[in-house]
Amino acid sequence: MTLFVDHATKKFGEFTAVDDLSLKIEEGQMHGFLGANGAGKTTTFRMILGLLDPTQGRVTWKDKPITYDSSPFIGYLPEERGLYPKMKVEDQLIYLAQLRKMSKEDAKKETAAWLERFEVPHYAGKKVEELSKGNQQKIQLIASLVHKPSLIILDEPFSGLDPVNVEILKRAILDVQKQGATIVFSSHRMDHVEELCDDMSILDHGKVVVGGSIREVKRNFGKQNVRLKMDQDLDSLGRLPGVEKYTDLIDGALLQITEESTAQRILNEAMKLGQLRHFSIEEPSLEEIFIAKVGKAYE
C-alpha cells in the first residue's frame, strides 16, 4: 500500500472534524472522496498533506510520514482556488513548480506542454486575473500536476467547469494516473467518482460511513433498482411484497428491491398489466447510496 491513513482523528478544541478515520489507497489508484460540506474532507486532505497534524493516529506515504521532504512528490489542488492574481500564468506555474523542487528548465518545458495540452498556450503571458474562471481552473490543475507528482490530491477538481472542459481535465487526470500516480479526489458529482475511481469513501461527520471498491460498495448496499417502462398505471406494483421504495416516473416507474426474486415477481405482475417496453435490473447509483447512508442529498 502506498497511502495509509491510520486511525486519524483531528479535533479543533471540542469539535471533532475527523473521527478515527482509516484509509488505504494503493499505488496507482484513483480514490474518490464524497461527503457533505463539513464532513471532514478538507481536514483529511490537510492531514494527508501534513498541513495539519492529526490529534491521534498518523498518515504515512510509502511507510513514511509525510513531511516537507515529500513536497516534490505531492500535487495539491485546494478546494478554494488560489493563484497570484497579478502574476503571469507562465511565471506562476514555474514558480510553484520550483517550490516543489523542479528545476527551472524542466518547469518551463512542462508548463509549455501542459498549456498546449489544455489548448491555452496563448495564456502563458497573461495575468491570471485576466482569465475566465474555467481557464483559471485549468491553470490551477496544471499547478498541481506540472512537477510530475506521484501522490495527487484534488479537492473538487471539476466544480464550476463546462462539460467540454470537464472532459479535457478528466482525460488529463486519467493519463496522469496511467503513468502511475496515486490520486485522491473529492467531487461534487457522483457520476465523476463512478466514472473515474476504483475505490471510494463516503464521509459523514468525520467518519467513513461507506468505503471500498465501487463494485463492492454497490453489492454490499444490498439494494437494486428495477426500471420499468410502460404506459399503464403501475401503483399496484409498488405494493408488492419486497418492494422497498416506489418512484413514479414519466414513462414508467423505478422500484427499489433487496431480493433478486422480487424482480421476477415484479416482471410477472407487470406483464399482466399490459405491454412492457423496457425492464431492467440496475445497480444502485452512488447518489442513492450516499443519500441512504448520510441521510441527506449531497448539496
Binding site: L52, D53, E80, L83, L99
Partner: protein, 415 residues
C-alpha cells in the same frame, strides 16, 4: 535551488519590479539632489533680486553718504538715496508700490530715525537699516567725545562666553547641534522604514491568504520557511532601496553646488559626519525592521481579507508612533530619564537607542545591551510568530482580532 531562496527571490523581485517601488525610489533620490542644491537654488533666485532703494528724508544732508557707507559695509543690497519728496508723497508712493521703504532721519546728539515700509514683515531690511543708523550714532558720539578708533574698538570688545556641559556623556553644545540634524534625518528614515517595509510584508501575506494561493504555498514549503524567506526578501529590498538613497544622497551632496560647511548644512550637521552614526543607523534599521517584520507577518497571517490588515496592524503602528514621539522629543534632551529607560525597551529601542548613540557619548555596553535585548525579542517573536503563522494562514473567517492568535496557535499546533 533551495526553496527558501526561490521564495526570497520571488518576494524581492516582484516588489522590486512594481511601478510604485521604482517611482518612489526615483522620487526620493531626486529629492536628495534637490535638497543638496537647495541653497544654491535659493541663492540663484535671490541673486536676481534688484537692490532695494531706500529713500531717505534727511534735513541735514550729511547723513545719507554715511548711511550708504555703513550699508555697503554690512553687505546689504539696500541703496540709500536722498529724496526731496515730502512724507505724504512718499507714503503715497509706498501705497502705489513704486517705493519699497523710506527713512526719516534727524540729527542731533542722539540720532532719531523712523523706518516706514509697506508691511512690517521686512524685518531683515529694517534691521540692516537700524544697525547702520546705530553705527553712525556710535561714530558720531565717539567723535564728539574725542575717542580714537582704537578706543571705540575697545569699547565694543566682546566678552568671551562659552557653554560647557559637566556630564561626561554630554557632547559639547557645538557637537550636539552638529549631530542633531543628521540624527534627526536618520531617525526619520528608520521610522519610515520600520513602518513601510513591515507593512509591505503584512500586505503580501494577507494578499496570498486572500487569493488563497497560500494553501498551495504552504503545502509545498513549510510556513515557517515561507515566512522567514519573505521577511528576508523584503528586508533585502529595504536595504537595496536604502542603499540607493544613500548613494544618491552621497553623490547629491558631493556634486552639489552648495557649500557644506555654511548656513543650512552646518546647522544640519552634515559637515562633520561620523561613520559610526551611519553604521548604527543601518544596524538599528535592520533590528527594527526584523522586529516589526515578524510582528507584521504574524498579524498579516491572521486576516482573511487585505482590507482588514490595517485594522489589525493598528496596535503595532501605535508602538512605532510612540517610539517616534520619544525619539523626536528626545532630540532636544537626549539624556532625559525616559529616553534612557525606553532605549532598552525592544519596541522603542531601534529609534530611541539610535538617538542616544547618535547624540551622546554613552558607554558601548549600553547599545550592545539594547541590541542584545532586541535580538532576544526578535528570536522569541520569530518563534511565536512562526507558531501563529502556521495556523493563521489556514484560518478563514469573519472575526479578525488579536484574540485569533490563540486560535491560530491551536490550529497550527503539533498534536
Amino acid at each position: 535551488m533551495n526553496s527558501f531562496w526561490i521564495i526570497f527571490k520571488q518576494a524581492f523581485m516582484t516588489k522590486a519590479r512594481t511601478k510604485s517601488f521604482i517611482i518612489t525610489t526615483i522620487i526620493v533620490a531626486a529629492a536628495f539632489f534637490l535638497l543638496a542644491n537647495l541653497p544654491a537654488i535659493i541663492e540663484s533666485f535671490a541673486g536676481d533680486e534688484e537692490s532695494q532703494v531706500l529713500h531717505v528724508v534727511d534735513d541735514s544732508g550729511e547723513l545719507v553718504p554715511q548711511l550708504q557707507a555703513q550699508l555697503e559695509q554690512a553687505d546689504s543690497n539696500i541703496q540709500a538715496m536722498p529724496t526731496d519728496l515730502s512724507e505724504d508723497e512718499l507714503q503715497e508712493g509706498i501705497a502705489e508700490g513704486t517705493i519699497d521703504a523710506y527713512l526719516v532721519i534727524e540729527g542731533g546728539d542722539a540720532l532719531s530715525a523712523r523706518y516706514i515700509s509697506e508691511s512690517a514683515n521686512e524685518i531683515g531690511a529694517g534691521a540692516d537699516v537700524e544697525n547702520a543708523v546705530q553705527a553712525i550714532q556710535t561714530a558720531l558720539t565717539a567723535e564728539r567725545l574725542g575717542l580714537s578708533g582704537a578706543e571705540v574698538g575697545e569699547l565694543f570688545l566682546p566678552a568671551s562666553f562659552e557653554r560647557e556641559a559637566v556630564s561626561d556623556s554630554a557632547k559639547t553644545e557645538e557637537e550636539l547641534s552638529q549631530a542633531r540634524g543628521l540624527v534627526y534625518v536618520l531617525i526619520l528614515l528608520i521610522y519610515v522604514a520600520v513602518i513601510y517595509y513591515p507593512n509591505m510584508i503584512a500586505m503580501e501575506v494577507a494578499n496570498e491568504k486572500s487569493s488563497r494561493v497560500m494553501e498551495i504555498l504552504i503545502s509545498s514549503v513549510s510556513p515557517v520557511k515561507h515566512m522567514f524567506a519573505k521577511i528576508l526578501g523584503i528586508g533585502t529590498l529595504g536595504i537595496v532601496q536604502m542603499m540607493i538613497f544613500g548613494i544618491a544622497g552621497y553623490f547629491a551632496f558631493r556634486t552639489s553646488a552648495s557649500d557644506m560647511t555654511e548656513g543650512f548644512f552646518s546647522v544640519m550637521g552634515f559637515s562633520d559626519i561620523k561613520v559610526s552614526t551611519f553604521l548604527f543607523a543601518i544596524l538599528f534599521f535592520l533590528l527594527g525592521y526584523f522586529l516589526y517584520a515578524v510582528l507584521a507577518a504574524l498579524l498579516g497571517s491572521l486576516v482573511s481579507r487585505t482590507e482588514d490588515v490595517q485594522q489589525l496592524m493598528l496596535p503595532m503602528m501605535f508602538l512605532i508612533i510612540i517610539a517616534s514621539f520619544i525619539a523626536f522629543s528626545g532630540i532636544g534632551m537626549p539624556d532625559a530619564g525616559y529616553v534612557t529607560v525606553t532605549s532598552f525597551i525592544p519596541f522603542f529601542a531601534p529609534l530611541v537607542m539610535f538617538l542616544r548613540v547618535g547624540m551622546l557619548d554613552i558607554p558601548l555596553w549600553e547599545p550592545l545591551l539594547s541590541i542584545a535585548i532586541m535580538l532576544v525579542t526578535i528570536g522569541i517573536l520569530g518563534w511565536f510568530g512562526a507558531r501563529v503563522y502556521r495556523g493563521g494562514v489556514l484560518m478563514y473567517g469573519s472575526s479578525q482580532s488579536l484574540k485569533d492568535i490563540g486560535k491560530a496557535i491551536t490550529l497550527g499546533n503539533k498534536k
